[in-house]
């Protein structure tokens, strides 16, 4: 097995890819639609160009980035690229406890570097207009509703990971493709409710970038993207273990 240092770098790089291309796609969509006139308050700009197609495009940007990270780095670190996934695997004894903190640190650093790099590459419009692709509940969505939505979305992601990758009976080779497309599907439906983060690191990076570069301060919403994904992922891991047990 590669050393923890190498796996740390792989997790950092994988999460960088996810946030740079995924959250970057959300920021770019907001920049393209800036100045438009949304017909409903539920529309913040994503959806103005092509309705749900905007969210499908953002979802595919995330999904294909995840697909690339899994196939490129999965053999090295496991390519969790998501603290909720790391914690859920640990909760069902599939991942060593002493490596949880280094993995999460790598994911947080990778996501933060991605958001800062995106701002450096695109310019301040990425912060002021695109918000670096940060997630927040949409108008009319309460705090509890947002946690529920993030929990359900991450539940679907994690139970898919359990079924197509963790389970030894799964057909090998399909995990990256299936998980990438699953995330794309979840984002298409849930994007316009909470931003469909499903991942505490994915939300941390843009929040930190926005704060450091003079954008919106959204930290009050961060517990949504911690509690929802972590609880949803752990629930999925335990349920899958129960459903797939032979007893």
């Amino acid at each position: 097995m590669p050393s923890l240092n190498k796996r740390f770098i792989a997790e950092l790089l994988g999460t960088f890819i996810l946030v740079f291309f995924g959250a970057g796609a959300a920021a770019i969509t907001l920049m393209i639609s800036a100045g438009g006139n949304p017909t409903t308050p539920f529309n913040i700009g994503i959806g103005l160009l092509g309705g749900l197609g905007d969210w499908l495009a953002i979802g595919l940007a995330f999904g294909l980035a995840i697909c690339a990270a899994i196939y490129a780095l999965g053999r090295i670190s496991g390519a969790h690229i998501n603290p909720a996934v790391t914690i859920a695997l640990w909760s069902v004894k599939k991942f060593p406890g002493k490596e949880v903190a280094p993995y999460i640190a790598a994911q947080i650093i990778g996501a933060s570097l991605a958001s800062l790099s995106f701002a450096a590459a695109v310019g301040m419009d990425a912060v002021t207009l695109g918000g670096l692709g940060a997630t927040a509940p949409f108008p009319g969505i309460g705090y509890g509703q947002a946690i529920l939505v993030e929990g359900i979305g991450t539940f679907l992601l994690m139970i898919t990971i359990m079924g197509v990758a963790v389970d030894r009976k799964a057909t090998p080779g399909f995990a990256g493709l299936v998980i990438g497309l699953t995330v794309a599907g979840i984002i298409t439906t849930l994007g316009n409710i909470t931003g469909s983060s499903l991942n505490p690191a994915r939300t941390f990076g843009p929040y930190l970038g926005d704060m450091l570069l003079g954008g919106s301060n959204l930290w009050a919403f961060y517990p949504i993207y911690l509690i929802g994904p972590i609880v949803g992922a752990i629930a999925a891991a335990f349920l899958y273990n129960y459903l797939s047990s032979e007893n």
Partner: protein, 70 residues
């Protein structure tokens, strides 16, 4: 079964093994035994090389053909 390569050289030697790729019978002098690493894991677990290897017996022709890709 006889060794194919020995037979081509006009010798009559019993085969001890068969090339896993082409099926050629091979004597001790003409077989090439390799130890192939076995890896376990991959997404979402880091891949890990297992302690034990899997033996693979090849003839010289197949060994050199395959080695070109390694």
């Amino acid at each position: 079964m006889k060794c194919y390569i020995c037979a081509q050289e006009g010798k009559d030697t019993d085969a001890l093994a068969i090339c896993i790729v082409c099926g050629m019978g091979l004597c001790q002098d003409h077989l090439i035994r390799q130890e192939v690493d076995v890896w376990e894991g991959g997404y979402p677990f880091p891949a890990e090389k297992l302690e034990k290897t899997v033996p693979r017996i090849l003839c010289g022709f197949c060994y050199h053909s395959l080695k070109g890709r390694e």
